[in-house]
């Protein structure tokens, strides 16, 4: 199709220009106060308020008022009318490739030095659609072209500069245990023996680097170890400041993931696919406290029994009580995260578990539950207004607020989804 969005292209260039000249003008906009009134507030962690009010200031949720009353009008707050609407926290997707372009550099078998940070394209069309799907936080990770493709960024789907959108970098290390990084060339990494070696070897290297720097920091008089940008981010990884999210699926592969990454390397692990019959490892995964973001495949067809099996539900049955879903966007478009959750529910997952799965569970898995994942005072004002149950396909997003700014308002602009 012929591109006709010239104004938008203009926006891009402006943003790039501003960012590159380091002008803080775009960031200096004063935060506005909002009162979201008369909606059904689904906090996720603190119950549902049939007619609650949410006050937003300074980019954060200031207060949640459970029963505000129909005439409640706080002074100094712009009113966002949520009558007849549901008020939900923005969704969190831990497996996204649409934060920017260029996600797979596949010359080296492992690439721990790469980071998807500088290639973020804020406010790109795919993110704009994501906002209209109620998704406000994503873990933008590199692809699974190699066994270790780099470090990803936790970012918001709205914001005009990279600094504005970044929630935390590194968000997580991305490891692909198998099922894509198999090299065709005949060098190491053609099958699991080689791939596991690549992963373990790189991690061991990172571990030694971390230990060297830890020793130095305990004793600053000792000789300073060299800095290696390729290994620098391993330090936070081995300090468990952020997790490794793993592209892994199927029984054998998931088993390798939890044995190598959790048991042997003692990392925080998030299983970021877990499909096919990976769900049969529920008890082992649950026992280790490893979290699962299931998807994009939400069912498995059991050929022997001729039966459809819900993969998210299978994890839950196996004991993994916090199960999320993902899109692996743009395999599934980012805005359809709610549809992925709807499919998980359709195939058996409890709806409340699914709702937590796209909000607080994901936030907790990557350690940003203090900032996102529920409507609670003090958290980022990432709030979405829906026409009803977000999993009901017939409903849509009316308004999306990110960091206290309205990023999308279908009552004032064209529908994006």
């Amino acid at each position: 199709m012929s591109p006709t969005g010239r104004p938008l292209a203009g926006c891009f260039s402006a943003a790039v220009l501003l960012a590159s000249f380091g002008l803080a003008a775009a960031r200096a906009e004063p935060a506005r106060n909002f009162a979201i009134l008369n909606g059904k507030v689904v906090t996720v962690t603190q119950g549902v308020h049939a007619n609650g009010a949410v006050l937003v200031s300074g980019g954060k949720i200031e207060r949640v008022i459970p029963e505000a009353g129909a005439d409640y009008r706080p002074a100094g707050y712009e009113v966002i009318d949520a009558r007849g609407l549901w008020v939900l926290p923005g969704f969190v997707d831990l497996h996204s490739h649409v934060g920017g372009t260029d996600i797979n550099d596949m010359v080296y078998p492992v690439n721990p030095g790469l980071r998807v940070l500088d290639n973020i394209v804020p406010q790109n069309p795919l993110l704009q659609k994501a906002q209209a799907g109620g998704v406000t936080t994503i873990l933008f990770i590199p692809g699974s072209g190699t066994n270790m493709s780099g470090f990803g960024t936790l970012m918001k789907t709205a914001g005009s500069t990279i600094d504005e959108v970044v929630v935390r970098f590194p968000g997580a290390l991305k490891i692909a245990q198998g099922g894509n990084p198999e090299r065709r060339g005949g060098d190491l990494g053609r099958d699991r023996l080689g791939m596991n070696w690549l992963i373990r070897n790189a991690l061991e290297e990172g571990k030694r680097y971390t230990e060297a720097w830890d020793a130095y920091e305990r004793n600053p008089q000792s000789p300073r170890p060299p800095t290696n940008p390729r290994l620098e981010y391993f330090r936070g990884l081995f300090h468990r400041a952020y997790p490794v999210v793993v592209h892994t699926q199927g029984y054998q592969l998931v088993l390798a993931t939890i044995r190598i990454l959790h048991d042997e390397m003692k990392l925080r692990v998030v299983i970021d696919h877990g499909e096919f019959d990976g769900g049969e490892l529920g008890p082992e995964v649950a026992a280790r406290g490893v979290m699962v973001m299931n998807g994009p495949r939400q069912f498995r067809f059991d050929n022997e029994r001729g039966a459809f099996v819900g993969t998210a539900q299978r994890w839950y049955e196996g004991g993994v009580k916090e199960v999320g879903v993902n899109t692996d966007s743009a395999v599934v478009p980012e805005e359809e995260l709610s549809y992925q959750a709807a499919m998980a529910v359709r195939f058996g997952l409890d709806e409340e578990v699914a709702l937590r799965g796209v909000t607080i569970s994901g936030a907790r898995a990557v350690g940003i539950e203090d900032r996102v994942g529920s409507i609670e005072a003090g958290k980022d004002a990432d709030i979405v207004l829906w026409t009803g149950d977000p999993f009901d396909v017939r409903n849509h997003v009316v308004l999306t607020m990110v960091n206290g700014k309205v990023a999308y308002d279908s009552r004032r602009e064209a529908r994006r989804f």
Binding site: N303, E304, R305, G306, A307
Partner: protein, 480 residues
């Protein structure tokens, strides 16, 4: 007496041992001579158990063979006919040699022939109806000799079983080493016509076209016959129709057209055997397809998928004359077996492989053979692979089928009397009854009960294979 220990009970047996020793030491490469000589020999084999046919067991028993044919099977208590040479097989279990309804075994494939014959797909609807397998048997090929070690005494054989009409199969037996150049290995020529049905427009058109032609021809014959009969019933002894003269039509009236049922070869007034009015013309070989529809030639039909059955029976139901079928098919889900069972009148028997298959609709392993049997359709089993190893594995597979729900009698029948019947050799092979060919196997234990070893194989009274289980040495025409 489990271990096979041969009791030397006669001079002949001693001679056998001597020659065996000679063979082991590189003696003359010749068939282990057995007391059974095709012409005129008279032997009584004593064994711990003889299964003459399903349901008929003698424990212990004696099998009396004269001239390569079974003379009697009796309990060991019954006195042995005088003059018979007694061979004591000790603790062996004797079974009739197995009968294989269809094989394409050849010199090329007998070692590693892959799958069984029921799943072979045909790409082209080629028409080889006049191909007679009997003429393609090369008796000197080693495969026919080696067949003797497989436990099979008769095989329905067609070298290429693909195509709309694959050809006329012949029943072939193993070579015994005592065959003269005049002896044919072919027990029966033109045992059956093998056809295949596949899904698709080409196939439908060929099937509809050819079957309709053949059916119309048969209808025409019958009409002419009926017309001639009514004419003959009138008091004028007029000339009869041409079909007497040229020997085209034998009167085997098959179809259940209710009013005319049951008529066999009529006694036509021999006075009315006037010369045919038609001018003499060279006899065209009778169309095998027409012979099938007349009921003179057996038809085997291979159909592989549930949908193919539905498409086939559409054509079948529209024919004015319908064939009776022996159906070759892979394992089928219960709903298909049910549909076929309701057509019991058209189906003479079903030929299957001894396989259990899982169908997701049932999520359990299905024993198609047991299901067909339960619905009253006789089952014949082909070996799981069309190779000698596959043939040899048959007893084990039969045992597996029994464990999975087939009765022992049905399992044995599926490898002996049912194939014999559909090959047109009932009473001649597949069972040890008076007048049948003395082709039988001696196992060291009940072959259907678990592990057993074939210790001896006989074809027409001649021992073609001998596995000395104690010493582990094998001998015989089949393995020389």
């Amino acid at each position: 007496m489990r271990a096979f220990s041969c009791v030397v009970a006669s001079r002949a047996a001693a001679a056998r041992w001597a020659l065996l020793a000679a063979a082991l030491t590189g003696g003359p490469a010749g068939a282990a001579p057995s007391p059974g000589d095709a012409a005129g020999s008279f032997v009584a084999y004593r064994a711990a158990r003889i299964v003459a046919r399903p349901g008929e067991v003698f424990e212990p028993g004696v099998l009396v063979v004269r001239g390569g044919l079974v003379e009697a099977v009796q309990s060991a208590a019954t006195p042995i006919p005088p003059g018979a040479e007694v061979v004591d097989l000790g603790g062996a279990v004797l079974l009739p040699a197995f009968v294989n309804p269809l094989s394409s075994i050849s010199e090329r494939t007998y070692r590693e022939g892959s799958g069984g014959v029921t799943s072979i797909a045909s790409r082209d609807p080629r028409d080889a109806r006049n191909f007679a397998a009997a003429s393609a048997v090369r008796a000197d090929e080693p495969v026919w000799r080696r067949l003797g070690r497989s436990g099979y005494g008769a095989v329905g054989w067609l070298p290429d079983s693909s195509g709309f009409i694959a050809g006329q199969a012949a029943v072939v037996r193993p070579r015994t080493g005592r065959d003269t150049p005049q002896d044919s290995l072919v027990l029966k020529e033109e045992a059956f016509l093998l056809l295949n049905f596949e899904v698709g427009k080409r196939w439908r058109e060929v099937w509809q076209g050819e079957m309709k032609k053949a059916a119309d021809a048969v209808v025409k014959e019958r009409d002419e016959k009926k017309a001639a009969e009514t004419k003959a019933a009138e008091p004028k002894p007029e000339e009869k129709k041409a079909d007497d003269a040229k020997g085209e039509a034998k009167k085997a009236d098959e179809k259940p057209a209710p009013p005319k049922d049951g008529e066999k070869k009529d006694a036509q007034p021999s006075a009315a055997r006037a010369p045919a009015p038609a001018p003499a013309r060279p006899a065209a070989p009778p169309d095998p397809l027409v012979r099938v529809l007349r009921g003179e030639l057996m038809m085997f039909l291979r159909i592989r998928t549930p949908a193919a059955f539905d498409h086939y029976f559409r054509i079948h139901d529209a024919l004015p004359v319908k064939p009776k079928l022996v159906i070759l098919t892979p394992p089928q889900p219960p709903e298909v077996i049910d549909k076929l069972a309701r057509r019991g009148q058209s189906i003479i028997a079903v030929v299957l492989e001894p396989r259990l298959d899982a169908f997701w609709e049932t999520s359990v392993l299905v024993n198609s053979a047991a299901l067909f049997s339960a619905r009253g359709i006789p089952v014949a089993l082909v070996p799981p692979a069309d190779s000698l190893d596959g043939f040899e594995g048959m007893p084990y597979r039969l045992g597996e089928m029994v464990k999975a729900g087939l009765s022992e009698g049905e399992a044995l029948a599926a490898a002996t009397v049912v194939p014999a019947k559909i090959l047109g050799l009932e009473g001649r092979v597949g069972q040890l009854v008076r007048g049948a060919t003395a082709s039988f196997n001696a196992f060291d234990a009940d072959p259907l009960a678990g592990t057993s070893r074939l210790s001896r194989a006989y074809v027409g009274g001649v021992e073609v294979y001998h596995d000395d289980l104690a010493t582990g040495s094998v001998s015989g025409e089949a393995v020389r």
